[in-house]
Symmetry: C2
DNA sequence: CTGTTAGCGCCTTCAT
DNA sequence: ATGAAGGCGCTAACAG
């Protein structure tokens, strides 16, 4: 039978404690210049009234707050959740509260940008391929610190990692030594991250005076990808398969295994983004050891710096290595 | 060379547009009763000044806001990220912004509770074993709507699911028909969810006049669990292994496979919480088809109801079925 | 249709 | 050590 409780204000506690607003405010914010006796009275009043300071009013009065925004596509993918975990972990260290926004399409983007701007957050980290330089510019133009993760915007602070040359080396090795054709498993609504991966493969081909055309379009899920690849392997008993996310590569791997192909003797598999998945398949999947949690952590760490020094532009490029496991020779 | 920009206020736009505060406010909030000409002047001023409404001030003035809080342990586990994804998905539908808090220990809890209270959020959903009835009470005492997910607090709104009887049936079947001993893979810093699972197993044992003691303590990770189980299987070539999360069960599964045990003929495996992991192992892991995303979605859906009708107490218990895959007979 | 005024809850000089 | 008063940016009656 609970009804909407009238929330006590600082005014109420001041009244009850027989002091002024200002004094109440002082003890609430732990200022020292208050006599013990009045301080105690205020404390009692606070408890008595179950008073909870109103952060909204405080933020308005101080023109400050403790929030940061995080913009991601969806927390669906395992690796994204890892980045978010790292982000939040570090945010906690700095006392930031995290306002998390997801965007499914372009329509969401401008809406989210406006919300972020209105909320007057201290900063935002963007781990989201939907946003382009212009979108991020909307933020920076309004003087809000932004760091992007995995985006390649030269004029904004960012955390990125490099695998391009390593990918090219791997592909070149396939072409020159292994005599294996390379196949790229590309999800339908592909991201820019994926495009960059494909570009790297293409470059390696071009350097060998070849054209890269082995792009296999697959749906963005393990379950739907599996049968497609199974069909594919009926006529393709050899090849080196690359995907961005491990769950897609694993679909292919399992399809190949179930088609009785020899891994890695006939077909090989690797993903760029490896998660726990990579470790628990049989054979284990080769992938880069990109520590997504660390990526997130560093992203927030960088944002914290930017918040203190808004004039900075920080670019950090993390080196991650390729880990050859059972699916590649 | 960007310096901190002086953010335009509604007052600035009113000035520039040669109107009053009130009129500016009207067009900003899309009220109709403004003449086209002044409306246009205001719109121009807004663009000219790059004005962005200050949500903090608005929230204070209207004594309302659009935020909800989400309290989870960590977004590390795949299934938690799925719940969060569902939560946010539904939140977007209602126009709620999500403030996400994580708690690693009891110390975090009271801090988070205070923050949530101060922020004057519209409601909070708790998917977090760290919080007990008293903690949630702190929220509800302050008249903020709360729905818990997976917690069994009778007096608060909640989303739960039942598997207890099914677990008991499975265990009983092992004892009576399969003549298989049941082993429980328990992670060290176990959750209440895990305790309830163990309790269900125990109950089934007791009903057969047996005592349940086969508890194997394992670390909370795939990698560390694997070698421990491998060691274990040297002396235990038979058994039915149950864990809460599939990643632990898979560690055991892989250990058994690598020890050349026959699955499911000699040893069987199942997890309560199944994710994509369950599908991509060989053999596939038996587990419950708990749709974590749906769980989250319904949680937020319920919260939305509560926000409209704070006096309600809603209990929803979702039925999820056991899916027998390759690791059980 | 438009302007005036009084808050929302809190912080912060500035006096006392 | 304490109190009074103004202001943060915006909304919402209430007049005109």
């Amino acid at each position: 039978m609970k009804k909407t409780i009238k929330k006590a204000t600082i005014y109420d506690v001041a009244n009850l404690a027989h002091t002024s607003l200002a004094t109440a405010s002082r003890v609430i914010n732990g200022k020292d210049n208050v006599s013990d006796s009045t301080k105690q009275r205020v404390l009692d009043a606070i408890k008595e009234l179950n008073y909870k300071p109103n952060a909204i009013a405080k933020d308005l009065a101080t023109k400050s707050n403790t929030s940061v925004a995080i913009i991601v596509p969806e927390i669906n993918y395992t690796y994204i959740s890892h980045v978010v975990a790292g982000l939040m972990d570090c945010a906690k260290k700095y006392g930031y509260d995290c306002l998390i926004f997801t965007t499914e399409d372009r329509a969401d983007v401008s809406q989210v940008l406006n919300k972020v701007l209105s909320k007057r957050v201290n900063g935002v980290v963007v781990f989201n391929d939907f946003l382009d330089e212009k979108d991020v510019g909307v933020l920076t133009d309004y003087a809000v610190p932004v760091v992007t993760i995995g985006l390649d915007l030269k004029t904004k602070s960012s955390i990125t990692w490099h695998y391009k040359n390593q990918i090219k080396d791997i592909v070149t090795n396939c072409l020159l030594n292994k005599k294996q054709d390379v196949y790229f498993l590309k999800v339908h609504n592909g991201s820019k991250m994926e495009q960059r991966l494909q570009a790297a493969i293409s470059e390696a081909y071009i350097e060998q005076n070849k054209e890269f055309t082995n792009v296999i379009k697959v749906p963005d899920s393990y379950k739907e990808t599996y049968p497609i690849l199974k069909e594919h392997f009926k006529n393709h008993p050899n090849g080196f398969y690359i995907s961005l996310r491990d769950s897609i590569a694993i679909a292919a791997l399992n399809a190949a295994m179930d088609m009785q192909l020899k891994v890695p003797d006939q077909v090989e598999f690797m993903a760029v983004i490896g998660t726990k998945y990579s470790e628990l398949t049989r054979p284990k999947l080769s992938s880069f050891n990109i520590n997504m949690r660390e990526l997130g952590f560093k992203g927030m760490e960088t944002l914290a710096k930017l918040i203190l020094h808004p004039e900075l532009i920080i670019h950090e490029k993390l080196p991650f290595g390729f880990v050859s496991r059972g699916t590649t020779k």
